[in-house]
Each structure stands twice: as C-alpha cells, then as structure tokens.
C-alpha cells in the first residue's frame, strides 16, 4: 500500500459508522441529552453568544491571575529573600560570639572564603577576619554581656583559627608563587602589630584560662609575623624590590625598638631588685649570682644589636633578622631570671 493509497483509504473510511462517522447531528444531540441529563444541565446544544462584558471579565481575570500573579509572586519572593537576607547580614555585622546573628556573620565570611579564587585572596580574607575576631574580643571585654568568659574564649579560639589559616595559606603561596607571597606577607606583617596590640589591650580583663589562650594567640601571631618576614626576605633576595626593602627596614627597626624597650625595662627591673635587696639588707649569694647572670645577658645584647645593624646595612637581611631572633631569645631568658628574682623577693621564698 503506497502512502497515497493509504490516505485515500483513510479518507474513504472516515465516515464509516464503525469508526464513528455518518452518525449525524442527531447522534450528537442524543449524546448531549444523555450527558446533560446526568449532569443536571438545562442548556441546549447550541453555540452560545457572549457579551463584551463577558470577554472583559475574562481579560481582567487573565491579567490579574495569569499574567500578573507570577510577576508579583516572583517580585515578592525576590524582595523577601534578597531584602531579608541583606538586612539580616547587615544586622549580623556587629554580632559577637554568643549572639543569635553571629552564625550569619560567620556564614557570610565562609561564603567569601569559598568564593575566593586564589590562595592570596583567601589569606587576605583570613587576615581581615582575624581582625574582626579581635574587634569582637574588645567589644566583649569592654561590655557587661552575660557569659563573658565563654564568649571571650570563642573569640580567641576563632582568632587563632584564622591565624592558623593565614599561616597555612602563606606557606602554600611561598611554595607556589613567591612573588605573590611577598605582597601578601607585607599585608600580614602590617596587621600583626595591630593584632598584638589588640590582644594586649584585652589581656588584663581576661580570666586566667582565657589569658592562656591569649598568650598562645600572641605566640601564633609572632610566628605568623616571622613567617611573613621570611617570605619577604626570600622575595627581596630574588627581586631586590624597593617595596620589600622598605618593609624589611621598617620591620627590623620596629623589632629592634621593641627589643631595646624590653632590654631597658629589664635593666630597670634589675636595679629595683638590687635596691630592694639593699633596703632589706639581704646579702644572699645566690641572689647576687642570678642578678649578675641576668645583667650580663642583658648587657651582652648591645654588641649583638650593633652587629645586626651592620649586617642589615650591608644588605644581609636574613642574617640581620636571625641575629635579632637570637637576641630575642636571650632577652626572654633574662626576663625569666628577673621574674624569678621578683617572685622570690616578694614572697620571701
């Protein structure tokens, strides 16, 4: 059977009663009468005529229910979600650990981290967030909120986590992209001073447990700073750029200044101890030996400091910072001896 023959056959059969054809309008009327009877209709089988008002009614319905509704629903949902979310995020910006909106603040930060495209961006963000944790720490310690200790601990822990993340990112960038590491390290290095100042500012009002956490945080900040400096030195050795040189010079001077302050303070504390011994007429040999040891340790720094400055002037940044690190160890040792003597004097042990 060809296509043409098949179509001709179908056309021929279309009016066959077996296929529902040739039943006439009478059959349609009969079918409608049966249906109308079962449905309880009164309407006759005819094409109705509608007025302009009927069509207007339909058009109005379409406009309000079919075309406008999806638009208005979409806009409402958008306004609710977006507007509500923005308001919530804004409100959460001042939240501190323990506040209802604090998780929202953390969630937006995590989102920013997730969306960051490079390790450098992530490290910058972690540095910024670490600063926020310290702002929170200061806000908590200077307020009378309930559960202060728990909140402080949460803020300090979160700060340490951020610093650890900065460290991790910094290490990775140093390996993968030393050029970018220097720029990042400059930023991190500039922030660490502020971090140390903020922790020191809050420290007096902390509980003993939180003081330990703050001390650990300070150490970690120092470690981060040291790592940042290392990154800058490495970069400077390779590029000899003006920017890294300025950063290193500034950091060296700052570190030196801090060490000199600590040395001066140590000498002052030793003088006070000697005066107290004289005033109490204590002639203890062990005291005298320890004081001499501490004084020697403090005074021996002068030559080391001069050496470090000479090395720096000659462009040996790495060696200069290594020397400063050695001095710092000695200063810390002398501070331990001085503290021990002070305790002995004040407690009579």
């Amino acid at each position: 059977v060809t296509n043409r023959e098949l179509i001709a056959l179908l056309t021929k059969c279309k009016d066959a009663p077996e296929l529902g054809g040739s039943v006439g309008f009478g059959h349609t009327e009969k079918a409608w009468a049966r249906l109308a009877g079962e449905l309880g209709f009164e309407a006759k089988l005819e094409r109705p005529r509608y007025s302009f008002k009927d069509y207007l009614d339909f058009f109005t319905h379409q406009l309000s229910h079919v075309w406008m509704r999806p638009v208005s629903v979409g806009l409402s949902v958008f306004a609710l979600i977006f507007g509500g979310w923005v308001a919530t995020v804004n409100a959460s910006f001042d939240a501190v650990p323990g506040d209802v909106l604090y998780p929202v603040k953390l969630a937006t930060e995590r989102m920013q981290i997730t969306l960051a495209t490079s390790g450098q961006q992530r490290a910058r963000l972690h540095t910024e967030f670490a600063g926020r944790r310290l702002d929170e720490l200061n806000a908590i310690t200077s307020s009378d909120v309930a559960g202060k200790d728990v909140r402080v601990k949460a803020a300090v822990d979160a700060f340490r986590e951020e610093i650890a993340s900065v460290n991790a990112e910094l290490m990775e960038i140093q390996t993968n992209d030393p050029g970018a590491a220097a720029a990042l390290a400059v930023i991190v290095e500039s922030k660490t001073d502020a971090f140390q100042a903020a922790i020191n500012q809050s420290e007096p009002s902390l509980s003993d447990e939180n003081k330990e956490g703050a001390a650990a945080a300070l150490n970690e900040v120092a470690e981060t700073n040291s790592q940042a400096i290392n990154a800058i030195v490495t970069s400077h050795e390779a590029t000899q750029s003006q920017e890294t040189e300025e950063t290193l010079q500034k950091n060296f001077q700052d570190t030196l200044k801090e060490l000199q302050t600590r040395i001066a303070l140590s000498l002052g504390r030793l003088t006070v101890i000697e005066n107290a011994l004289k005033a109490k007429e204590i002639d203890d040999r062990s005291f005298a030996e320890r004081i001499a040891e501490a004084r020697l340790a403090v005074n021996s720094h002068e030559a080391e400091v001069e050496k470090a400055m000479d090395v720096l002037a000659a462009g040996g940044y790495r060696k200069a910072f290594d020397l400063l690190a050695e001095i710092e160890v000695q200063v810390a040792h002398s501070e331990e001896i001085i503290t021990e003597l002070e305790i002995k004097l004040t407690t009579g042990l």
Partner: protein, 181 residues
C-alpha cells in the same frame, strides 16, 4: 485564536459553571473523540458509553481545577479517554473465565482487543483493526488529520506539540499503519 477561545470557555466553566460553554466544547470535540473511541472499542454502544463518561469526568475536572491547570480541552479529553479505555479493557479482562470465553459477545470483544478482524473482507474493518493495533498517540494523530481533516497547527494545539512534531508523528503513524494492512 482557537486556543484563546478555548481558554475563555474553560474560564467560563471554572468561574461560572457555564453549561453553554461546555456545550460548545462538546460540539467542537465530540466527533474526533467519538472516532477515536470507536476505533478502539468493539461496538458503537461501548463507544457511546465511553464518550459520556469522558465528558462527565472532563466537566468535573474543569469545575474543580485551578486556572491554567489544563488549558487544552482536546488534550484533556483524550487523556481521560485513555484511562476510560484502560478501565474498559481491564473490566473486560477481569470478567474473562472459561465459561464466559464461550459466550459469543465476549469472543467478539476479545478478538477485537487482540487485533484480529472479526469479519475480514471489508476495508473499514481492516482499517479499524489496523488502527486498533497502533499506539494511542498514532491513532489520535491519524484521526485528527485524516478523519477530522484538521491542519497541522490545529492538531499541534490539540495534542500540545509543535507542528513539526505532529508531522513527524503522523509520518511514523502512517508507516506503522501500513504494516498492519
């Protein structure tokens, strides 16, 4: 235009339970649906019953449906018709027993269901048998095109397909039909 008119009539039924609007839809679609039912059922009496059931269900569905839920009346009634046909043949099958199988009426129905012509020889019966062997979609497109003589755009609206898809379906339907003739 046809689609907008249909939407208007469906709106009238949903909102005002407009019997006249339903009468117009009945007039418009009864012939194609009846042809479809006749081609798949053994007798015109069965097709009459099924036609009544389909429109009854369609009225009840539209009355309680939400706006835009079903704006193609043809699509709706053919959809209902498929379920009515399934129910019909399911009931027939469940009635089958050894004794009943011996009854002549049931034999006729069974033969029609399995696609065997009861009385071979006439072209109409051959066409009916061949049509009954086709998938419902193929059968529907052949009826709308060659029995109802509708154009492709109109069929596309009724079957909720594109005109190109209708052409393709019709081509395959005729190819399939030829195999059974």
């Amino acid at each position: 235009v046809h689609s907008e008119k249909e939407k208007f009539l469906l709106f009238r039924i949903r909102t005002y339970q407009d019997q006249k609007a339903f009468a117009e839809l009945f007039l418009e679609h009864k012939k194609a649906l009846y042809a479809f039912l006749c081609s798949r059922m053994p007798s015109r009496e069965d097709a009459d019953d099924a036609l009544n059931t389909v429109f009854l269900r369609a009225w009840n569905f539209i009355r309680t449906s939400h706006s835009n839920e079903k704006d193609h009346f043809s699509g709706l009634i053919f959809h209902i018709a498929r379920y009515v046909l399934k129910d019909y043949w399911k009931a027939k099958r469940s009635d089958v027993s050894l004794t009943e199988m011996q009854e002549a009426g049931q034999v006729v129905a069974d033969q029609a269901q399995s696609g065997k012509a009861v009385e071979a020889g006439t072209e109409v019966r051959l066409v009916k048998e061949a049509l009954s062997r086709l998938p419902e979609e193929y059968q529907e497109v052949i009826i709308l095109r060659h029995f109802e003589q509708l154009d492709y755009d109109e069929i596309a609206k009724r079957m909720e397909k594109s005109a190109a898809a209708v052409r393709m379906t019709l081509h395959r339907a005729l190819k399939e039909l030829r195999k059974h003739l």
